[in-house]
């Protein structure tokens, strides 16, 4: 167990934790896109069922934003790009791990 108590072990673990934190795909509200359209987009892009897609759509509508997905950066980037192709206001954020 000596390795884990070494003074240099702690910072290394912290860095590893940061690396492991997922990336978030966030969709922001806009006053133009129709609710049914947004539900359809969430279903097509993420493969969500109707209930989950509606829940996220309502969250965007009522709270101004919703985290649609979290995971590895490359996949998150691909989702953000697709959502922007569908004319939704989407961005990538780093999970702060809170």
């Amino acid at each position: 167990m000596a390795g884990t108590s070494h003074p240099l072990a702690a910072p290394k673990t912290q860095t590893q934790t940061e690396v492991d934190l997922p990336w978030l795909v966030v969709v922001l509200n806009d006053p133009v896109n129709l609710m049914d359209y947004v539900v359809m987009v969430f279903r097509r892009v993420f493969g969500y069922d109707l209930e989950k897609a509606r829940k996220h759509m309502m969250e965007v509508h009522e709270e101004g934003r919703s985290v649609l997905w979290s995971g590895p950066r490359e996949q998150a980037e691909a989702y953000v790009y697709q959502l922007q192709e569908w004319q939704l206001s989407a961005c990538l954020q780093r999970d702060k791990g809170e």
């Binding site: 133009v32 129709l34 359209y37 109707l50 897609a53 004319q87 206001s89 961005c91």
Partner: protein, 154 residues
């Protein structure tokens, strides 16, 4: 395959076609959405991201214009390939966002979301543009119902 049954006066359709054609030119140069790439400081990546989105939206708008120029639209049933219907659906959003950015900014977001704009208080140009905005919403709604009926249920 998605089918479109739409009854609309040829006069209105001609007006909307001309308006949409103009907005499509805007959309093909400047995106309707903010291109938020993964790293705003990486200029090469941001350029590629923006150019990719522009290429996609130009293709989508091409499908919308092809539909608007279809001689059957507004008079008889028009049948679309699913991929083309999806492109038209996306293009409707791109053009509506551009209309909002260019003409409807003075209206509040809630007013716009609820469709509470007073048509009679608008000048003739804005009336035409707003009617086109509403027409594209209707067109999109019909097509969404065709490709994903569940999304429009309830």
């Amino acid at each position: 395959m998605p089918e479109l049954h739409l009854r609309i006066s040829p006069v209105f359709l001609t007006t909307f076609r001309e308006l949409v054609e103009g907005f499509v030119r805007h959309v093909g140069v400047q995106l309707s959405v903010q291109p938020q790439g993964p790293d705003p400081e990486d200029e090469d990546m941001m350029d590629a991201w923006r150019e990719g989105l522009l290429a996609s939206v130009r293709e989508d708008c091409g499908q919308l214009m092809a539909l608007m120029k279809d001689s059957g639209l507004g008079r008889e049933k028009v049948v679309l390939e699913e991929e083309n219907a999806l492109a038209v659906i996306r293009a409707c959003s791109a053009v509506r966002l551009k209309i909002q950015q260019l003409f409807l900014k003075p209206y509040g977001e809630e007013q716009l979301e609820e469709g509470e704009l007073d048509f009679d208080e608008m000048g003739p140009e804005l009336q035409q543009v707003y009617a086109c905005y509403v027409f594209l919403a209707g067109l999109q709604e019909l097509l969404v119902h065709e490709v994903d009926p569940d999304a429009t249920r309830g």
